[in-house]
């Protein structure tokens, strides 16, 4: 039954732009400060205060338009979208309705069979964020809510797709590709958990082969990849159930309940979809010259694909390593710096250290690469020492760990560690000590429990305080034990 219908999904993405100041006033664009600190007459909508466009917002919007291959309206303007809600003190949101900055573009996504397809972008437009409402229980009981206007007037970019996605996997790929794009263009900090990217999905079903779209339902207020995927699953289930019962679907807006994993219709508070848009009289139109557009093109940061390609072609990394090391722009920047600092012949070992040790540490601690205390240069130097067999890999790891846990600078710890021991006589001495101390284990080994070799290697490493090369120790051990 479930395969009777084709899924048709379109997505709206709202992303906060990480400009230094708000969209239309000089307030800092940073709402991690005490409530109602970054506010001014303009973003509070005090009568008489006038908005002025932040040019950084325009530049960021242009980067996104260029990356999404949209047609750019070199003459565009803002419009007012009216509605009353306490998080919007002006009574309208400054947005772009009639002539958006970018129209008709596309982004390639991955299809389920591993191929690629283009999802068409219908428009990209600039607008402003609202304040944040809180409905804590104590207040709600008293019949009140609270508002913090720090976020009010923060620049937002809305990216609207055509209904071109045909499965949840495609939606997922779209969201990931779009996140990468916004991250690598350095226009958004992409912190989903802080609401810097939000989604609205529209979904309909139609019998396979049918040209015409089915009735469309919109799902509002989705804050993560996961909630978009789960909300779509739930809504598709609901629509199939209704269609199976022979009832026609209603075109409506639904909300997703994260706990119950189901969608339910939003209460229609009023016939509020009439936003009474009109051109914003307080902001003159924007004219983007060819020169300006070229400037923005020339200074665009490279997208993830380009960075990956560079890592593979110039530094000889595997596609897998390049993929892992470009999971975010910050990680890609650090990786590029480390690989460059190490020089050509060190590129692959540096990449291995990044993937295993650095990412392992970040995963364990939940830190981000920006908080990684060892510089790219220091990491590259460390790897070079290991590669040149000046220290053992084990000792290098120990020093790195100790440095990361605050036991001193990597340089000091390495100096204290001492150089690797490659003198066979010394190694053989330690090996004989270990053999003498463990006669029963030696017996077992010789009677066939050869995996005990790891135990012996460990013991020798302990005696050498990590300065022995494990591989060398293993070889010598096998000789000694075999004899």
């Amino acid at each position: 039954m479930s395969s009777e219908y084709e899924i048709v999904v379109g997505l709206e993405i709202h992303t906060e732009l990480c400009t230094r100041r708000k969209a239309f006033c000089g307030c800092p664009n940073n709402f991690k400060v005490p409530p109602n600190t970054n506010i001014c007459p303009t973003c509070l909508g005090v009568p008489g205060a006038l908005p002025v466009l932040n040019p950084e917002m325009l530049e960021f919007a242009l980067r996104v338009c260029l990356a999404l291959h949209t047609k750019i309206n070199q003459r565009c303007h803002f419009d007012r979208k009216h509605y009353f809600y306490p998080d919007l003190p002006k009574g309208y949101q400054i947005s772009q309705k009639y002539r958006q900055i970018g129209v008709e573009g596309f982004i390639p996504i991955e299809t389920e069979d591993g191929g690629e397809k283009r999802v068409r972008i219908s428009d990209v437009h600039m607008e402003e964020d609202t304040g944040t409402l809180a409905h804590t229980e104590a207040y709600v009981r008293k019949g009140t809510s609270t508002v913090n206007y720090n976020r009010c007037g923060v620049p937002l970019l809305e990216i609207v797709s055509h209904p071109d996605m045909r499965s949840i996997a495609e939606v997922s790929s779209y969201m990931h590709r779009m996140r990468d794009l916004l991250d690598f263009l350095a226009v958004s900090d992409c912190r989903m958990e802080e609401g810097s990217i939000r989604y609205e999905a529209s979904v309909s079903l139609r019998p396979f082969g049918q040209e015409e779209y089915g009735t469309r339902v919109e799902i509002k207020n989705l804050g993560s990849f996961r909630s978009v995927e789960q909300a779509l699953e739930a809504e598709i289930r609901r629509q199939k159930r209704i269609l199976a019962s022979g009832t026609p679907l209603r075109q409506e807006t639904v909300l997703f309940d994260e706990n119950l994993k189901e969608t339910r219709p939003m209460r229609s508070k009023e016939s509020s979809s009439d936003y009474r848009y009109f051109p914003e009289p307080d902001l003159p139109p924007i004219v983007i010259s060819d020169e300006r557009l070229n400037e923005v093109k020339q200074t665009m940061p490279p997208l993830r694909d380009t960075v990956m390609k560079l890592m593979i072609e110039e530094h000889g990394l595997t596609p897998y390593a390049a993929d892992v090391l470009t999971a975010s722009r910050a990680l890609a920047d650090y990786s590029r710096d480390a690989v460059r600092a190490g020089g050509k012949e060190m590129a692959v070992p540096v990449a291995n250290w990044l993937q295993n040790t650095v990412l392992g540490y970040l995963n364990e601690t939940g830190l981000e690469i920006a908080a990684f205390p060892v510089s790219a240069q220091e990491l590259a130097d460390l790897v070079r020492k290991v590669e040149e067999k000046k220290i053992t890999a084990a000792a290098a790891k120990t020093c790195l760990r100790e440095s990361l846990s605050g036991k001193g600078s990597l340089r000091d710890l390495l100096a204290r560690q001492g150089e690797a021991v490659s003198d066979d006589a010394q190694l053989v001495q330690w090996i004989r000590d270990v053999i003498t101390e463990n006669p029963d284990k030696v017996e077992s080994y010789r009677s066939g429990r050869t995996n005990l070799i790891q135990f012996f290697v460990g013991q020798v490493m302990r005696l050498s305080k990590g300065r022995a090369q494990a591989q060398k120790v293993k070889e010598l051990l096998e000789e000694e034990l075999g004899g």
Partner: protein, 105 residues
């Protein structure tokens, strides 16, 4: 211009008027609705008349002034202090949040 268009009068029902008043958060007593309707219609019909002008090939005007690209300058700061601005709020809690009538069920 087609003849029929200019001869059509715009109509507006009392319910439409009530809806528009609601969207604008205006309280209009029932006894004022008729008068408001005639004022409203006069405006709408005036615009309808303007609508009849031939505008083919004319760029829609988004702004009445010949002005474009007015951008925020670096280093411009707001002269008003946040604390001063918060005094416009009816009520502010101890954490500086503005208290408003409840907006959820």
């Amino acid at each position: 211009m087609p003849e029929t268009r200019s001869s059509e009068r715009i109509e507006i029902s009392l319910q439409q008027l009530r809806d528009i008043a609601f969207l604008s958060r205006l309280e209009v007593p029932d006894e004022s609705l008729e008068e408001l309707r005639s004022d409203f219609l006069a405006l709408l019909n005036h615009f309808k008349q303007i609508d009849e002008l031939p505008t083919d090939g004319v760029e829609p005007m988004a702004h009445p002034l010949e002005l474009s690209n007015v951008f925020l300058q670096e280093g411009v700061r707001c002269p008003a202090e946040p604390d001063e601005l918060l005094q416009n709020a009816l009520e502010v809690d101890s954490e500086r949040r503005v208290i408003v009538p409840r907006v959820v069920e």
